[in-house]
Amino acid sequence: MAEAARFAVGDRVRTRAVDPAHHTRLPRYARGQVGDVVEVQGTWPLADDRARGLAEPRVEPVYTVRFHAGDLWGAPAEHWVHVELWESYLEAEA
């Protein structure tokens, strides 16, 4: 592990409400949203840094985060959406 995982399965997290000028793997529909960590996948080089050609991309834990569709799209959506997110996309949600 290049970095100890900050979050664990079951943690509530909020995705950052950001709009970077560069490539990112944080989909727009999942920005500024609250979800639950359902899996800690391991660590990978951050896609944002790789896409910018940085010589030493940050290596971060990647999490599977579960969002309720009602939160993403509003009622009456009732399914779940799992999104895979690098740690720097996330902050702790009380």
Binding site: Y29, Q41, A77, E84
Partner: protein, 194 residues
């Protein structure tokens, strides 16, 4: 690549290849090897995995716990691309149906399913399946009971996924190869029941 060697896109691709070869970054043999690996994937690979999981409960449990290791047992691999990929297999049940998408581009388990269908890469599928999956699945001909929960897996990082469909009823008499023949590419993506 065969097909339309004089089409505009083929000409552009060839010019790009020649630039890369001239720059010493690759050669024709390496490019042909990569294309061969991509095209060697087939839904038949994914179907083999599913059929084994249907007939062998211990394999099913290993597959769901660590899919990459389970693939090794069948001589399959997620290492056909430039880098090995982590695979997770998500099982359908009566209570839960899974379906795959890559909303950002077209990430897909090519080694297990072969090249992706064009609709998988379409903006319509990518934008709608995360928002109204029950409606989109019905348009594919898959009408789920209202009580079946739907989970959409957006392949946004470096893992890949495959759906493990439910074994159809009345298949107790079929052997593993016959079971594998029932499994479709759409079943492995989650846009069909099997």
């Amino acid at each position: 690549m065969t097909g339309h060697p004089t089409s505009e896109i083929a000409v552009r691709v060839r010019r790009l290849e020649e630039r890369l070869i001239d720059a010493g970054l690759t050669d024709d043999a390496q490019l042909d090897a990569i294309i061969g690996q991509v095209l060697s994937g087939s839904p038949a690979n994914g179907a083999r995995v599913v059929a084994r999981a249907w007939v062998d409960q211990a394999f099913r449990e290993r597959l769901l716990a660590d899919a990459n290791s389970a693939l090794d047992e069948l001589g399959l691999s997620m290492s056909t691309g430039p880098r090995p990929q982590r695979l997770t297999v998500v099982p359908n049940t009566a209570a839960r149906h899974n379906v795959l998408v890559c909303t950002l581009c077209s990430c897909y388990p090519i080694g297990l399913l072969g090249p992706s269908p064009s609709w998988y890469k379409s903006e319509a599928y990518r934008s709608r399946i995360v928002r109204e999956p029950r409606t989109v699945l019905a348009e594919f001909g898959l009408v789920l009971p209202p009580q079946t929960e739907i989970v959409v897996h957006d392949t946004s990082a470096e893992s890949r996924h495959m759906v493990l469909p439910r074994r159809p009823a009345d298949t107790a008499e079929l052997d593993e190869a016959e079971l594998a023949a029932l499994v479709t590419r759409e079943g492995l993506i989650g846009t069909a029941a099997v």
